[in-house]
Symmetry: C2
Subunit: 227 residues, 2 copies
Amino acid sequence: VIELTQVSKVYNGGAAQTALDGISMSVASGEFVAVMGPSGSGKSTLLNMVAGLDRPTSGRVCVGGRDLTGLSEGELAKFRRTHVGIVFQFFHLLNDLTVLDNVLVAAELAGIKRSAARQQATALLARLEIADKADVYPAELSGGQRQRVAIARALVNRPPLLLADEPTGALDSRSGDQIMELIAAINASGQTVVLVTHDAKLAARHAQRVISMSDGRIVDDAVLEPA
Amino acid sequence: VIELTQVSKVYNGGAAQTALDGISMSVASGEFVAVMGPSGSGKSTLLNMVAGLDRPTSGRVCVGGRDLTGLSEGELAKFRRTHVGIVFQFFHLLNDLTVLDNVLVAAELAGIKRSAARQQATALLARLEIADKADVYPAELSGGQRQRVAIARALVNRPPLLLADEPTGALDSRSGDQIMELIAAINASGQTVVLVTHDAKLAARHAQRVISMSDGRIVDDAVLEPA
Ligand SMILES: Nc1ncnc2c1ncn2[C@@H]1O[C@H](COP(=O)(O)OP(=O)(O)OP(=O)(O)O)[C@@H](O)[C@H]1O
Ligand SMILES: Nc1ncnc2c1ncn2[C@@H]1O[C@H](COP(=O)(O)OP(=O)(O)OP(=O)(O)O)[C@@H](O)[C@H]1O
Ligand SMILES: [Mg+2]
Ligand SMILES: [Mg+2]
């Protein structure tokens, strides 16, 4: 469902920074792939390419059979609403909206009817044990609570493709395990998952395949043997 | 150097939220204490009390022999500049300043002369392997790079007390280990460290004592046996 062909991303600030250096990779529908690598190796940039949130300097990005490279911003945003759930590394919650509204916005933008959206959002918040926070604002939440709101928002429209950038970084072990069980259940129901994580055990336990990055390149791509 | 006496913090939004519930604890000068607990248990709120960034609803907070409860905001800010280094859970970098200036600001506010501040800042950035990022802005950094800038800023004024809220959450294992070695070295030179972490191994490896929190209370306070 994802096909990257010689994708490079060079940022041009004071000094050119190559975040991705000629990456080619593919992910099949229904796969669970972990992406690992040192800080600054290009993991978040890679997810941004796949999500159409940023454009490559060169190369081609195809997701769900579509070449994202030629789409306009409006077409990209529409594509994302219905095809991709994203858990950002630093959550990107909307500070002026309550927890419930942060999640509802994602569902409604995906075209889900209000009553169904509300039902799904409420169920997700309950499953993530933050239902009691539905009416509070992001500034009134702990770090881990914010992370879970971001996760609910990414999952509410039941995306065919979930991109999760360190979804357990701000969570204690038990909450992190709950999140991973939820993500694994989503994958088991057919959705494709790409998980960026620094936690090798987490990757080994859930992913079928681990892509390793270093300095903007893929340096390893290993299918894991089932336990 | 830290003495909390029956400290409670209740936030009054739509519904009262008790973040801290009658906490009493003390930390001696030179100790390395880890604070652990589930998401929402009050860890960041606790650090905010000790740092004088927030006020308790009731109770008393003494740090470095001073009762913070009665200080004005200006006195609290001055106290922090010279006594406390804080690594925030979500970094709180100043987006309009470069990496180097983010770190320099902390040093200069602590009264360190410009040439010494520059020298210390540059040395820290090099040790944290982000010297090549000195002239870029926070928006141009990866998550782990931002975290390391926050760490450099917290350490540059060599505070007697370091409060670190999940300082390795956004880092790969190797970078995380580097950070912890740096913090351990700081503690070995006499500075007091309070480390919030979700990583039990990290706590066991570096801290002498682990305080466990749940629902705004301290539920365990265990001195670790030296390895
Ligand atoms: N907007 C930007 N402008 C300039 N450089 C950038 C930008 N975004 C990222 N970079 C640089 O590109 C490189 C890759 O960044 P990226 O965020 O993809 O890394 P990462 O693997 O996610 O790291 P981490 O584990 O620290 O989150 C880094 O060196 C970073 O400084
Ligand atoms: N500004 C605020 N207004 C209202 N409630 C708040 C505020 N800050 C924190 N809280 C609530 O107080 C409780 C404790 O929050 P705190 O941030 O201290 O938790 P934490 O232990 O650091 O959690 P995490 O591991 O998720 O970072 C949480 O339930 C949180 O929702
Ligand atoms: Mg990243
Ligand atoms: Mg916290």
